[in-house]
């Protein structure tokens, strides 16, 4: 195995990556971050690569971030939104993908509401696939950009204490972050109402807390997640107002804790629910840095996977 090469052909999840893969992606991302500070924020390396962005589920940040990353690598991009496509006419996932790939597309960036959809597609097509979020399973590039941002802010990941707070059950960001932070040697606590924390999650190597205040007192970084009402098909807590009272983070709560905590959020934020506006806009919040870093991290993932193109057949 080449030391400068990923051990995988697709980026389906953090679960399949080696710690050395994560390190390589983060190191390459820091070089792309430098590219993004230049007067001309574009390099020609992927000018012979075409990428299709297959979005079967809504997205703002991730789709724009991937598209910018592709353009800044000089790749050709094609955008696909399920709502305006032949999927509405009854075409299957494999048929849609095969039809697009027969037009000589090299890579697929895919978001789907069904967990495992990109893994399924990877078995049927020859292109490299990057998972941009599949149901409640994984969102690998989000975890990578979160780790990149923590590393940038705190100068490392090993031994850092990270709390993931909110709807752990329905969050692919939480699962990818748990895998990623564990592989990089950080300590993870998940915190939320018992109905939003899956049973046996300790087996992934994390601790569980039901008390936000205690969790905040313990952690260096709090990664706060949105309540994903669209994925909850039965009531799991009484009301958003009650959730905000017990698990929401506001200035008052933070001011009672005697240390500085880095606040992260993958977006979109529901202001007044999981985070109050004064916290989301405070100096401790690196939410917009996360978005900025997302482009560099996605450039790294695209670049490193495109380097494996000749091995696909």
């Amino acid at each position: 195995m080449h030391a400068n090469s990923l051990s995988v052909k697709h980026l389906l999840g953090i679960k399949e990556l080696l710690p050395s893969d994560i390190e390589l992606i983060l190191k390459t991302a820091s070089q792309f971050k430098e590219v993004l500070q230049r007067p001309i924020k574009k390099v020609p390396i992927l000018r012979d690569t075409s990428v299709v962005n297959l979005f079967f589920e809504n997205s703002t940040r991730t789709r724009i971030s991937f598209e910018l990353a592709e353009k800044r690598l000089s790749a050709d991009t094609i955008n696909f939104a399920a709502s305006s496509s032949s999927v509405k006419k009854g075409e299957t996932l494999i048929d849609t993908a095969k039809n697009i790939l027969s037009m000589k597309v090299d890579m697929v960036v895919m978001r789907h509401s069904a967990s495992g959809a990109p893994h399924f597609l990877a078995k049927h097509i020859n292109a490299s696939i990057i998972n941009a979020g599949d149901g409640i399973n994984e969102h690998p590039t989000q975890a990578l950009l979160d780790s990149f941002s923590i590393n940038e802010k705190l100068g490392g990941l090993k031994g850092k204490k990270v709390a993931i707070i909110g709807d752990i059950m329905h969050s692919r960001v939480a699962l990818s972050n748990i895998y990623c932070l564990n592989k990089m040697g950080a300590k993870v606590v998940v915190c939320g109402p018992p109905t939003l924390i899956p049973k046996h999650i300790e087996s992934l190597g994390v601790e569980v807390s039901y008390n936000v205040r205690e969790t905040l007192e313990w952690c260096d970084v709090a990664n706060v997640l949105r309540i994903q009402l669209e994925r909850q098909n039965k009531p799991l807590f009484s009301s958003l107002r009650e959730y905000a009272m017990y698990f929401g983070i506001d200035k008052n709560l933070l001011s009672n804790i005697k240390k500085e905590i880095v606040i992260m959020h993958p977006g979109p934020i529901n202001r007044g629910v999981e985070l109050s506006s004064d916290v989301a806009d405070s100096e401790n919040a690196i939410i917009l840095d996360q978005v900025e870093n997302g482009v560099a991290v996605r450039m790294a993932a695209l670049y490193l996977l495109a380097g494996k193109k000749d091995q696909m057949i």
Binding site: N4, Q31, K42, P44, I45, L73, A306
Partner: protein, 175 residues
């Protein structure tokens, strides 16, 4: 592995190159030195130190440029090259640039280096300084302005410059 030049010969040549730069760029007011990553920077480090030693009061701007994302052999070599850091903490607009690399062979790295450089701005002019010039293997029309030594060997032989700080000794070898 055959030795072509030892550390003393190397040092004499680097001293000469540094003096030639001083002769042509007296004062270095509008001149910047940029080494190409990964191996050209060892040479540019030496040249920079030499000039600083001879002209201790002169402030010279010095940077390093990575060209990995500008290469034209992506997906051809099998395995990716690891990118190195670029350090250009000054504007290059209107500057006289001295681009430094260790071995000039096909010229393709320098072509990529020029493209990378132009993404930072529009310099007044660009000169090329190399330690080893393999004169008969060029694939693009690029020639050095300052050349340490010419080495003429057959195409599939590799000329490598070893550096004390990286390889444990200063030497030019034929592999």
């Amino acid at each position: 592995m055959k030795s072509l030049y030892d550390s003393q010969e190397l040092d004499i040549t680097i001293t000469r190159l540094a003096l030639q730069l001083i002769e042509n760029h007296e004062g270095f007011e509008n001149t910047v030195i940029i080494g190409l990553q990964p191996r050209g920077v060892h040479l540019s480090d030496r040249i920079f130190q030499k000039i600083q030693k001879i002209l201790p009061k002169t402030r010279i701007e010095y940077g390093k440029l990575d060209i990995t994302f500008y290469r034209d052999d992506f997906n051809e070599k099998g395995g990716l090259l690891q990118a190195s850091d670029t350090q250009l903490d000054f504007p290059i607009e209107g500057k006289q640039i001295i681009l430094v690399d260790d071995v000039l062979f096909t010229g393709r790295s320098i072509r990529a280096g020029l493209e990378a450089l132009l993404d930072y701005g529009r310099p007044a002019n660009v000169e090329l300084l190399v330690l080893i010039d393999r004169r008969f293997n060029r694939e693009v029309p690029i020639q050095p302005d300052y050349s340490g030594m010419a080495v003429d060997v057959i195409e599939d032989q590799k000329v490598k410059v070893l550096w004390q700080e990286k390889d444990g000794k200063d030497e030019v070898v034929l592999l």
